[in-house]
């Protein structure tokens, strides 16, 4: 099903994009964690409180973010992370057929004794492995950030509770004492495994869609355009579904609803590391079990790849332009 020479060719072809996306994701995830340490939790809380009315747009409730674990978990929803993953998926997915057709190289490759399915699967293998590595690099960046960062925390002054009034009174009026501690003492990196998998599933779906559009098209720019148009449409549907109660049915029609990395972190931190991998458990604000969401994305991605294979095998290959 796979051709090792094609695999080698595709690895060579995509290595530059992979290296740039990988370096960006790793460095960003690391820096993002370091930035968490710069902003005092109290300050962060104060800032976030200003945006309470927009809480409904957030993937999880704000209170869950007032922990280092929650703040680090926001990395998976950062636009740069999403952008890099989407760039990889659309660039690689759109390349498989319409990209090669546009460059005119498909003819020479398919003049060799390889099947179209073999070509598509070899390409998909490199793209999916690349995607998996990119997601792992985000996790690795978070891990390195967590292990390399120290945070300062104010030590709460000793207090005394006044009877009847139930008020805590500090016993000292001095500046609160600060203590420095390692972030790894506050954050368990394993909590982000499920989020990393969710990010992979998200990318897998986008990759599948881009590959499908590529398999039926002959112009790469049109493939990219169609994929981006679908992506934006789904994003708008997600935004509208979140914004207006009357439009919340749109949430069930967009794949963005299946991307819940912060929720996965929350579940893992509250219910244990294995909880996000459950197909049976139910949690607040979740219609399905936690693992169902990435599995839906992966199933949709697999369907897209299957459709791409059928269409690519059935279609006529036009001569290079």
């Amino acid at each position: 099903m796979l051709n090792r020479f094609l695999l080698r060719k595709y690895i060579g072809q995509s290595s530059l994009l992979f290296l740039s996306c990988g370096a960006t994701l790793f460095a960003f995830a690391w820096i993002r964690v370091w930035v968490v340490s710069l902003l005092d939790m109290g300050q962060f809380q104060a800032i976030l409180e200003q945006f309470r009315e927009f809480e409904k747009f957030a993937p999880i409730d704000f209170d869950s973010l007032f922990t280092y674990t929650g703040r680090v978990g926001m990395t998976f929803d950062e636009p740069i992370v999403i952008l890099c993953i989407v760039i990889w998926c659309i660039a690689r997915g759109s390349d498989v057929v319409s990209g090669e057709l546009g460059r005119g190289t498909l003819e020479m490759v398919l003049a060799q004794p390889i099947s179209r399915t073999q070509l598509l699967f070899s390409h998909a293998t490199v793209s999916v492995l690349g995607l998996a590595l990119l997601c792992l690099l985000v996790w690795a960046g978070v891990g390195v950030g967590v292990y390399a960062t120290e945070v300062e925390e104010s030590v709460p002054p000793p207090t005394i509770r006044i009877p009847f009034f139930e008020i805590d009174m500090p016993l000292t009026i001095n500046e609160p004492q600060k203590q420095t501690l390692r972030l790894r003492d506050r954050v368990d990196v394993n909590l982000y495994a499920a989020s990393t998998f969710n990010l992979f599933a998200f990318g897998f779906f986008v990759l599948g869609v881009a590959s499908f559009f590529s398999s039926i098209d002959r112009y790469r720019w049109r493939t990219v355009g169609a994929t981006v148009a679908l992506y934006i449409l789904q994003m708008v549907m997600y935004g509208l579904g979140k914004a207006a109660e009357s439009l919340d049915y749109l949430l069930s029609m967009t794949f963005f609803s299946c991307y819940k990395p912060q929720k996965m972190v929350l579940i893992a931190s509250q219910e244990g590391l294995l909880a996000p991998w459950s197909l049976s458990g139910s949690f607040a604000d979740m219609v399905l079990s936690p693992l169902a969401y990435p599995l839906i994305l992966i199933s949709l991605g697999l369907m897209s790849f299957l459709l791409a294979t059928v269409c690519f095998n059935k279609r006529d290959l036009p001569a290079p332009l």
Partner: protein, 318 residues
Amino acid sequence: MSSEADTEPVLLCNGLSKRYGAFCALSDCSLRVEHGDVFGLLGPNGAGKTTLIRILLGFLHPTGGNCRVLGIDPVVDSVALRRQVAYLPGDARLPRHMKGEGVLKFFSEMHPFGELERSRRIADQLELNTKTRVAFMSTGMRQKLALAVVLGPQTPFLILDEPTANLDPTVRAMVLRLVMEARDNGRTVMLSSHVLSEIEDTCNKVAFLRKGRLAHELKMSELFQRHRMTALTSAEVVVPDALSDQVSIQTTRLSENQHRVQIDTSGDLAPILTWVNTLPLSHVRFEPFGLRTVYDSVHAGKFSQATTASSPEPLETL
């Protein structure tokens, strides 16, 4: 190859057609190419040559008819077919991120008949620097590289779509030598080209396509036995019965007592020359019947598929 495959022709097309909606790119094309043939495909742009080749390789699905290449139907198993065929596209484009050497290595590994050393040798013969990246190669260099890729594998069947496009005359001659070498090694070659002299020099059979139809088929040996004579005469020229199947005449009146006569001949010239010698002719011009003449006639639509090469029917009406 099996003995069954040996007895079958290398290529057998039967009523092959390809339609795109109302447009017919190839219509009812029936061809036969035997082992060891160097088969030329001729026709103007858009005649259907590349469409035919692309159907043979399984790139396009035919809308009518069928074909078998080395006993394999490309619709059923195009991979097995491409194991036996080396193909040079009309506009061969190669991965731009690779160096010439990398391209040769990649394609020789991809093909079971691939042989890197042979591809390198051909690249050397074509005076190609394989250390250059494809992206920085000129059109001619890329064509040479594609030729080295395609001529490397020793497949039984070789399909070349305009192999000498963008090449200088020296390299063209080298490519034609390589084609003849392939034939001498027992390989069958299908060659599409617009350069008639190349077809004349290399092919033993030629097919003319026009507007998606097979307009004419020709054995070059028969073409070489055909000649055209033009002359002026004042008397009527009548072909003797003994030569009627070898000679055809077209007469055009120039003035009251002067006509221009065009005599097309096929076969042995000796008896025809004896007859011609008895005619009251002046300004006689004798020339071999070149592929150009046939091509022009086909292009002008004066040939049908039924017309055979040995027929002495006039190719042009003056």
